[in-house]
């Protein structure tokens, strides 16, 4: 069975600072996608960023970027210039939408 580990149950960061959320996973696949999803207190899950495993270049979406280490099966999310609206649960989902336990991120003013 696929395993996903998010080792930080909760994190907090000051507004405008940078924070990194970690995720490690296990898979037997060689080509796959990895995702970070965000679930704000309103509860609708939305995609933050996607990484294709066969691409060496790390994905970037505005203030969000990933550090993908395929050999280490590590897929961390970096949020730069944190905003209050970034407060949410963040879930790592390496392929087939099996989620990690999540990291609760709070951005403080």
């Amino acid at each position: 069975a696929q395993t996903v580990t998010q080792s930080q149950p909760e994190m907090s960061v000051q507004e405008a600072e940078t924070v990194t959320l970690s995720c490690t996973y296990d898979t037997s696949e060689n080509n796959y996608y990895l995702f970070w999803y965000k679930q704000p207190p309103s509860r609708q899950m939305i995609l933050v960023i996607r990484q294709e495993a066969y691409k060496q270049q790390n994905a970037t979406e505005n203030r969000f970027s990933v550090n993908f280490q395929k050999a280490a099966k590590s897929f961390s999310l970096k949020i730069s210039d944190s905003q209050l609206g970034d407060t949410a649960m963040y879930f790592c989902a390496p392929e087939k939408l099996v989620f990690g336990k999540g990291t609760k991120l709070t951005v403080n003013p």
Partner: protein
């Protein structure tokens, strides 16, 4: 415009009384998923459809069933809800199961 729509947003049912939650999509995606999410926990995949092919997770209780009469609609049936089934139920769709999913707003189920 909403692309994955779940109805109702809130559902109260009696212990043991069958209940059906619905999900519809306008994306014409092949894959539809149902998740159960309890408070402060990650979503737990119950099952998914790839087109008409039903895929049940090994640990999904028999009490949970699903129907997908066409591409646009998928239903979650709970045959005899127990107090432990109270949760948020999330529906999601994906074009082919390898790319990102789009989620509905969820249905919060209360069992009394």
């Amino acid at each position: 415009d909403a692309m994955v729509i779940q109805n109702p947003r809130y559902q109260v049912t009696q212990f043991g009384k069958p209940v059906t939650l619905s999900c519809s999509q306008t994306l014409n995606h092949n894959v539809m998923y149902w998740y159960q999410q309890k408070s402060s926990q990650a979503p737990k995949l119950l099952f998914h459809y790839y087109d008409k092919d039903f895929n049940n997770e090994a640990d999904t209780p028999d009490n949970f069933q699903s129907r997908r009469p066409n591409t646009s609609f998928c239903f979650l049936d709970i045959r005899s809800p127990g107090l432990g089934d109270a949760a948020m139920y999330l529906c999601a769709t994906s074009r082919d199961g390898t790319v990102e999913a789009f989620f509905g707003q969820g249905t919060r189920l209360t069992v009394v």
